[in-house]
């Protein structure tokens, strides 16, 4: 089930209000995206924990509806 880019962005921002979210459609099929998420909430967390925060924001869609979301996480200023 494809998901719109703005829906991904909305879910992430709902969970991480300070987040800057850049989403790029990789194939234009609603199913392959790359996301760059910048948030202060990632401070002091390992990469795995940072990605888990974003996955939590996506409420179970990751790995299901969203098979292909290439994810990069950054701290502000990084």
């Amino acid at each position: 089930m494809p998901m719109e880019a703005h829906e991904i962005e909305r879910l992430i921002k709902e969970h991480l209000p300070d987040a800057e979210v850049l989403i790029e459609a990789l194939k234009g099929d609603g199913d392959h995206y790359a996301a760059l998420v910048t948030s202060a909430a990632f401070a002091g967390k390992s990469r795995v924990q940072q990605h888990q925060l974003v996955y939590a924001a996506l409420k179970g869609r990751m790995g299901g509806e969203l098979h292909a979301l290439a994810l990069t996480t950054r701290l502000p200023g990084e």
């Binding site: 990469r47 795995v48 990605h51 888990q52 996955y55 179970g60 990751m62 790995g63 299901g64 098979h67 292909a68 290439a70 994810l71 990069t72």
Partner: protein, 112 residues
């Protein structure tokens, strides 16, 4: 979730130095993300065990619960979860992965 699957997974990641849960096999990956991680490990000359989650639904679902990580591939080194395709690629590009493997005592054919 079957406890048998969880203990089987635990056994795999603790008895093998490097384990990659992936879609397909290292010879024939069936997903671009799995293929990417597999290529990186091959490039580094790391010996690893590949486990094809497509061959078993119990493992495919079990591995997602094991580390609370929703996607596949998943790379484990000495029992520790390292990450999925994005994290492994990022670590590889920065040279961090090579260093990490060396520090963990995992032989690679490429110097860190």
């Amino acid at each position: 979730m079957s406890e048998d699957v969880q203990s089987w997974i635990k056994d795999q990641v603790t008895t093998n130095d490097v384990v990659l849960f992936m879609k397909g096999t290292k010879e024939f990956p069936q997903c671009g993300f799995s293929g990417r991680v597999s290529q990186i490990l091959n490039f580094l000359g790391v010996t690893y065990k590949d486990i094809n989650v497509l061959a078993d639904d119990g493992i495919r679902n079990g591995i997602k619960t094991y580390t609370n990580w929703p996607t596949i591939p998943q790379l484990y080194v000495k029992g520790e979860f390292i990450g999925g395709a994005d994290i492994v690629s990022e670590m590889f590009q920065s040279g961090e992965l090579q260093k990490f493997l060396t520090d963990k005592g995992v032989p690679t054919s490429k110097a860190a």
